[in-house]
């Protein structure tokens, strides 16, 4: 205790607290810079990440010999030839024919009818050695995420089902799903499976989506996608098993669609790039092209997508089939659920990861930056607060109503644009609102008011980021990073600051900013595409990103925009001449209390 006392005395001798309070704006900026540097610069350093390992011993990937080999080759090719003929058929006909094949194999089939998102054929094969309470899903959408007909995937899923059904070792039911696409119809099936389907096979533990478009026998490498909706990730063990099995078969693995040329790059920039790619993929899951694993989010299902890439190469389609085979055998070994604490990770390469404790500080730093900026503005507004309880109360009331107003307006916008999809109008309106600092209006804000508005906006944003930290790290980090320039906003006291503020407001507007971001980094989302994708992601998949942006980020932005209305300078000078008489009534009160 004595040590703490001494430290505290020393700190107050040095005037540490006042100095720190003066440094707040700089601390906020430093905190934001640390946040980015921590993630992008520090984590990919040698020694800061770990090699992946299988945490659950029961999984034992590639410990058993895989049998999906030459014996299945002709069957697979036969199915593929037949599936190729179905390309131009109507979905009812396709499902009917495929369903009859599955019935022949001995799989119970049913069709989930959904007039809005089209029908999905699925079959349940009951495990010979299980109690039927758990299941593994093998999914092959008819059309993959890029809209190509998934000939190889569908043929492989059928051949694998036939192959699996001859084995007596399964302890979990196997469900094969043939949905029309990877987005709405697969997610509609998944929703229906957990609500109202008659034919079910127990709780789904894992899902593997196969994506092999075309009729080519050979392919070059395997892509694995794992980022689920709303920040969910599959258990790292499942990803590890898939990577392990694929590499065991000799194939190269690329995560999150990283280009082939970058596979195997084990250097600092390569790791950094892949990690940032993974974070972008997580933040924009559901908004970018979906390959199918997103549809299983929200039901405690660990899901991944396996994609065969390249038309030519050393590996044939049965080699690809051995990957789901081995993954299924691993998952089949599980006696309990997947291990805890393996749900939060970032992958820097197929075999390198950082876990939550290492990467979380990056997003915490942004949350801290905003809270520091908020504190700074709060103190500044107190400094400029006019004397007299009434005036101060009026300012606080104005702040509160403005904030509540912007919140309601943001909520309204989120609902209206859900129905009335005009991204251009949204962006134009945002741009127009960004001109606020330049408005030649008679309304002049007092400095106290302006600081108080900023204070409440930043603290709100900080709370939003904190609440997203664990749920959706990538989005919290992304919003923190993109909204960060807001803290540079100064009071608009001259035309020059007005122009600077307008630029900052344009840059940090949620819609303009996300469009800019998408245009620079995401070639799939040109122009204003990202806004309509955000909306469709909510409608088709139930992805919250649209609401998080509208209700989490927009209210703070609107409040900050209002705070940068031209401000009156000089009120504080008048205030300072008044004597400080805070304690006079307090004295009397204390006597009464005692």
């Amino acid at each position: 205790m004595a040590l703490i006392e001494r430290l505290q005395r020393r700190a107050s001798d040095w005037g540490l607290l006042p100095r720190l309070l003066q440094l707040l704006p700089r601390l906020a900026i430093i905190s934001g810079i640390i946040g980015f540097a921590w993630l992008a610069v520090y984590l990919p350093l040698e020694g800061e990440f770990r090699r992946t390992y299988i945490s659950e011993n029961a999984l034992m990937p590639s410990q058993a010999y895989s049998y999906f080999r030459e014996t299945e080759w002709n069957l697979l090719r036969g199915y593929r030839t037949q599936v190729k003929d179905l390309v131009n058929k109507h979905s009812d006909e396709r499902n009917g024919i495929l369903g009859s094949w599955l019935e022949e194999i001995g799989v119970k089939t049913a069709i989930h009818h959904d007039p809005e998102n089209r029908d999905t054929l699925y079959g349940v094969w009951n495990a010979p050695r299980g109690d039927g309470t758990e299941a593994m899903v093998l999914a092959a959408p008819w059309f993959n995420g890029d809209g190509e007909f998934n000939i190889g995937g569908v043929a492989l899923a059928t051949a694998l089902t036939r192959f699996f059904s001859r084995w007596p070792l399964w302890s979990k039911n196997i469900i094969v799903v043939f949905s029309e696409d990877t987005r709405a119809s697969l997610s509609s099936w998944c929703h229906a499976y957990h609500n109202n389907l008659d034919l079910t096979g127990g709780s789904i533990e894992s899902a593997v989506v196969l994506d092999y478009p075309g009729t080519n026998d050979y392919f070059k490498y395997v892509e694995i996608f794992y980022a689920g909706l709303n920040g969910e990730l599959p258990n790292l063990d499942l990803v590890n098993v898939a990577v392990h099995v694929t590499e065991h078969e000799g194939m190269k693995v690329s995560l999150n669609g990283a280009p082939e040329s970058e596979i195997g790059e084990d250097d600092y920039p390569g790791r950094m790039q892949k990690m940032l790619l993974g974070i972008r993929k997580m933040a924009l899951a559901g908004v970018q092209t979906c390959y199918g694993n997103e549809a299983f989010s929200g039901y405690r299902i660990q899901s991944i997508v396996l994609r065969a890439r390249g038309k030519e190469g050393p590996f044939d389609i049965t080699t690809f089939g051995r990957v789901p085979e081995a993954v299924f055998r691993s998952v089949n070994n599980l006696l309990e659920k997947f291990h805890q604490s393996f749900f939060f990770y970032l992958l820097l390469a197929p075999r390198y990861f950082v876990s939550i404790a290492s990467y979380l500080p990056a997003a915490v730093a942004y949350s801290a930056a905003f809270i520091l900026a908020s504190l700074d503005n709060f103190l500044k507004s107190n400094k400029h607060l006019p004397m007299g309880a009434n005036a101060a109360f009026r300012i606080s009331l104005n702040t509160a109503t403005t904030f509540v107003g912007s919140f309601l307006a943001s909520f309204f916008i989120s609902q209206v644009f859900l129905q009335w999809q005009k991204p251009l109008a949204l962006v134009l309106a945002s741009g127009l609102l960004s001109l606020i600092p330049l408005f030649p209006t008679d309304i002049k804000l007092s400095l106290a008011q302006s600081h108080q508005l900023k204070s409440i906006a930043f603290s709100y944003l900080s709370v939003v980021l904190t609440s997203l930290l664990v749920v959706n790290f990538a989005l919290a980090f992304g919003i923190g990073l993109l909204a960060f320039p807001m803290i540079f906003l100064a009071n608009t006291v001259s035309p020059r600051t007005g122009i600077k503020n307008t630029a900052l407001l344009v840059l940090t507007n949620p819609f303009i900013c996300s469009c800019l971001f998408a245009n620079i980094f995401e070639s799939q989302l040109p122009n204003l595409e990202i806004i309509s994708r955000l909306i469709s992601a909510w409608k088709e998949l139930g992805c919250w990103t649209w609401f998080l942006i509208c209700i989490g980020w927009l209210p703070a932005w609107i409040t900050v925009a209002i705070s940068s209305l031209p401000a009156v300078f000089g009120q504080s000078v008048v205030d300072k001449t008044k004597p400080l008489d805070v304690d006079t009534d307090a004295d009397a009160d204390i006597k009464k209390l005692q």
Binding site: E5, S467, V470, D583, D589, L593
Partner: protein
């Protein structure tokens, strides 16, 4: 009651009643959330009790109902859901009114008497707790009645109210100690009145419960022995989930001792500021009780405005505020991660309940420090003098 005060009370009834009738789904959602509902305060189990009572089933043999028999009997008198909502709204409004009356009894010049009431009305924790129809509302009402009547010197009423509060949720019985400090005389009579009221209540419960004493364990036994281990914002559950079987009885005793441990010290040390000692004890119980809800926390925070003269001495007010904000936002999220998504585990939620405890502790420490400082400064705030608080 002037116009402003009347407005506050009406706003209280309107907001509670309006929220319950316009969004009936809100009540179900809140009642399912662990932050606002515990086995001993949940409205669902109260309704179950009402059903059992109406159909002449034994109330407590099913192990679902943990409410006091008289409360169940009272609720069974209401058939209409809207009437029940109105009852809760009125109970809450009465608390708001009592806070106003307390402020008036201090004749505080710097604090208009309607302010504590208004803060109580807009406090989201209290609002949501009331909308969730948690029976904690009635305990809070009884506690605030006891406090107000003690301030007014009405010892009979005060003794009866604290007996009712303890009858409803047991731990308020310890608040009798600071209450005695508040009542300058008639101390013995107060204690005996409390005892007589409590015995009467228990005997009539015995009558209502078909002549069986089994309600004692289901209501008070559950609170003391924490036999329903369900996650909540308190400090108990995680400990007893993890503990080896043979240590459990000992630590249950320790935890219960912990609840009562600080009551007498607070009351003795601050016997010259009995109102303040009462609030400290309330804070202590909120911090250490076995089944706390955010409703308790909200009720406690409503007493902070009375200490406005001490505000200058508060050192953690920003930290406490941030802690409470983060707890209310993060606890449902972490619970969701643990129970719904399965990606988090119980440590996530327990971490948040620790943060909540820390928030309450900072409030407690701040209050104690502020009062000690003002004693040191002989009642005249001297904010320029810096002292090390160790």
């Amino acid at each position: 009651m002037n116009l402003r005060e009347a407005q506050v009370v009406i706003a209280c009834v309107a907001s509670r009643f309006g929220a319950s009738t316009v969004f009936p789904i809100l009540q179900h959602q809140l009642d399912k959330s662990v932050e606002f509902s515990t086995p001993v305060t949940s409205y669902r189990s109260l309704q179950e009790g009402v059903f059992l009572l109406r159909n002449d089933f034994p109330l407590y043999s099913g192990g679902v109902v943990h409410h006091a028999p008289l409360l169940v009997a009272l609720m069974s008198a209401f058939n209409n859901e809207n009437m029940v909502s109105l009852l809760y709204a009125c109970a809450d409004a009465l608390v708001a009114y009592q806070l106003i009356a307390m402020a008036r009894s201090f004749n505080n010049s710097s604090l208009p008497s309607w302010v504590p009431g208004a803060l109580y009305v807009i406090n989201p924790l209290v609002l949501l707790s009331s909308v969730s129809k948690s029976s904690i509302v009635f305990s809070n009402l009884a506690i605030s009645t006891a406090l107000l009547t003690a301030l007014q010197g009405n010892w009979v009423c005060s003794a009866v109210s604290i007996a009712v509060a303890s009858y409803l949720s047991l731990y308020p019985l310890t608040l009798l100690v600071p209450l005695l400090a508040l009542l300058r005389d008639h101390k013995l009579k107060t204690v005996s009145t409390t005892a007589v009221t409590l015995v009467t209540l228990l005997l009539s419960s015995y009558k209502i419960n078909d002549g069986s004493w089994n309600y004692l364990f289901s209501t008070y036994g559950v609170i003391i022995t924490f036999s329903k281990i369900i996650p909540n914002l308190g400090l108990w559950w995680y400990f007893f989930v993890e503990l080896f079987e043979m240590f459990i009885p000992f630590f249950k005793a320790v935890f219960n001792l912990f609840v009562v441990s600080c009551i007498i010290p607070f009351s003795l040390r601050f016997h010259k500021q009995p109102f303040y000692a009462f609030v400290l004890c309330l804070c202590w119980i909120t911090l250490t009780k076995s089944y706390p809800t955010l409703g308790d926390g909200g009720f406690l925070l409503s007493f902070i405005p009375f200490f406005k003269p001490l505000y200058g001495y508060f050192r953690y007010s920003v930290i406490s505020a941030l802690l409470f904000i983060h707890v209310t936002v993060l606890s449902p999220i972490f619970y969701h991660l643990w129970v719904d998504l399965g990606s988090g585990n119980s440590n996530f939620f327990y971490a948040i309940s620790l943060v909540y405890a820390l928030g309450l502790a900072t409030v407690l420490v701040d209050l104690v420090w502020a009062m000690l400082r003002i004693e040191y400064d002989k009642g005249k705030p001297n904010l320029n003098l810096k002292l090390t608080p160790i």
